[in-house]
């Protein structure tokens, strides 16, 4: 393992990025049986190259593959784990839908889910470190219909065993920075205790940098578990809530970091560089710079691509301005294979 020093306030993304229009068209044709599977795969690869290039141009330090192969963060995993069934799309807000899966039989790990994605991303990335995202067991359980297991808890622990196998496969493949997406974690206060145990079960024995992304919920419900959760970073959404609740950052233990959400992914208004810089200066009054990563609130995929890119550019520009004000401060160190 080598040690890689990142710039102070490293910029990254949460995961998803708008699919190029031509990819959406190829997916449509593939669904209609008019494009072969191998051509679809090629299109996915090309799309990853394109969105990695967008991130490079915007100046993002740690890119992802934009989750170009994933329609949605739960259904992608459910499609690749035995025991799920899909009845149809369910609305999440406005006119955004996902195919909410139903658990109709015993769950079984069928083999690697995102390892190939990671492998391809690493090959085409401009950066020695990339972010891989994986949906956590509690969120998959909470965002599925449970028709089979006797309780959601039992279902979540079963999923934890499966996700653990996937995380270990990623580690073996050389991943150095994995983000567990658990937006559902604060949803049910009476379940948080066992939900945290299930998530930790999924992370058991995984020795790479682990972040956790949570959004659009009450972070204070999770704060008592920040210490206990086996991750070293919490990537949280703040722009959507007008940078309120910043006090939550103080609850993050000193040996853990904050991924600071500075871009509202549900608004097409492109933030000004100055407002993002102002938000960064605010959080710097609470946490030392070495413990802060900079990212959008959440995945950018619901935005038009040109707006998503402009928002990333603003994020990077604002970060560079604030970095300039932090002369001599070193960034965090990451272990990379």
């Amino acid at each position: 393992m080598d040690e890689l020093r990142l710039p102070v306030l490293p910029t990254t993304v949460i995961g998803s990025y708008p699919r190029p229009r031509w990819l959406r068209e190829i997916i449509r044709l593939w669904r209609a049986g008019r494009v072969k599977e191998k051509h679809l795969r090629e299109a996915f690869d090309d799309a990853v190259v394109a969105v990695v290039r967008d991130q490079e141009e915007a100046g993002v330090d740690i890119p992802s593959d934009g989750e170009q192969r994933r329609d949605e963060m739960v259904e992608y995993f459910a499609e690749r784990i035995e025991g799920f069934r899909f009845y149809g799309p369910v609305r999440v807000w406005g006119n955004a839908y996902y195919r909410k899966p139903a658990v109709v039989g015993p769950l079984k790990y069928k083999g690697a889910i995102v390892v190939e994605e990671f492998d391809f991303l690493r090959r085409v990335s401009y950066s020695p470190v990339v972010k891989v995202t994986i949906t956590g067991p509690y969120t998959i359980a909470d965002w599925s219909f449970n028709e089979y297991y006797s309780s959601k808890e039992e279902l979540a622990f079963e999923l934890a065993r499966i996700i653990n196998r996937e995380l270990k496969a990623l580690e073996e493949a050389g991943a150095s920075y994995i983000q567990i997406d658990e937006p559902a974690l604060p949803t049910h206060p009476d379940e948080v205790e066992w939900a945290v145990m299930a998530v930790n079960e999924a992370l058991r024995g995984v020795n790479v940098k682990l972040g956790m992304h949570i959004c659009y919920g009450d972070y204070w419900r999770i704060a008592p578990y920040f210490e206990e959760l086996r991750v070293s970073q919490f990537a949280l959404e703040f722009a959507n809530r007008g940078f309120k609740d910043l006090g939550i950052a103080e609850a993050i233990p000193e040996d853990k970091e904050l991924g600071f959400g500075v871009i509202d992914v549900h608004s097409r208004r492109v933030e000004s560089v100055e407002e993002v810089a102002a938000a960064l200066r605010k959080i710097l009054k609470i946490l030392p710079p070495q413990r802060i990563y900079v990212n959008p609130d959440c995945g950018l995929k619901l935005l038009p691509r040109r707006i998503a890119k402009r928002k990333m550019e603003v994020m990077v520009k604002a970060t560079k301005i604030v970095r300039g004000e932090l002369k001599g401060v070193e960034g965090p160190v990451l272990r990379v294979p």
Partner: protein, 321 residues
Amino acid sequence: MRIEAALVGGLPRPYRIGRLMSKYRDGKVDEETYMSRLRKELVKALRRVERYGVTIVVNSMFLWDDLFQPFAEAFEGVERGGLYRFLDNNFYYRVPIIKGPIRHRPASLSHFKLVKGLVEEAGLNLSIKAVIPGPYTFTLMSENRFYNSARELALELAEALGKEARLLGEAGAEFVEVHEPLLTLQGVQVDLFKHAYERLSSKVSAGLWLQTYFGPLEHVLEELEGLRIDVLGVDAVEAPKQLEGILGFDAGWGLAIGAVDSRNTRVERVGELRRLVQMAAERFDRVFLTPNSMMDFIPVQVAFRKLRVLGMAVRGVVGGG
């Protein structure tokens, strides 16, 4: 004796309608095309609901993005803000932001008239219930940047919602369904709820259907006595144990039993639902069998499968359907 199957809150918005709405909002579809397709889909859904034996529908149908949307858009002093989780669902609403004095402007009346017109044109035997958020839940799920206290806001919202409910009644709504899911949480601010509800109910002549969901109501049941409630909607899926207590509590209201799970795809058994209706019919003159909340959380086809079961359960009971 009145026993009927009814909708609560709304139906899931079909994916194709979601896409149509997005295009319309982006200016990619003109109003005429949009309305024509919307009307067609609404009629299709209304016909299907009627065929399954559900006799009371709602004006919201699948038209609203969330429970607060029409009101937050129409009322003066209110704007729609960022997304926030709707209770404990993977479903998000835009938080109403209170920025100035609230003034009533008709919010959901056009939806009521639209659905009523379609029901009449199609010659369907359906009664239309009007849906509004309750002032207590509205207050606590909003961001108050203007009023000095939650009480002040709740009373102003009650005033505006009461005016809306009166208009809906005048337009022909037999019931106005007032959503107060926050009554099922622990630590209810009973006085706040009661004052706001009384203010709202004083303005309405239509029947008031107080709808609660996702938890038990027992802890505030006695507090509801004396309020103008024509039908009380309770969740018998997530709080089944409360039914016994509620069945034994005679406050003169009708009972809406939310016995079909609007958050799970497993379809209920007709026999079990029928037993519940029979049990309630021994104590209440008016019994309505309903989903336990709005059905936005499940796929459309599953929602209709559940509605068919709902209708079948009611048809099998003497006096029902």
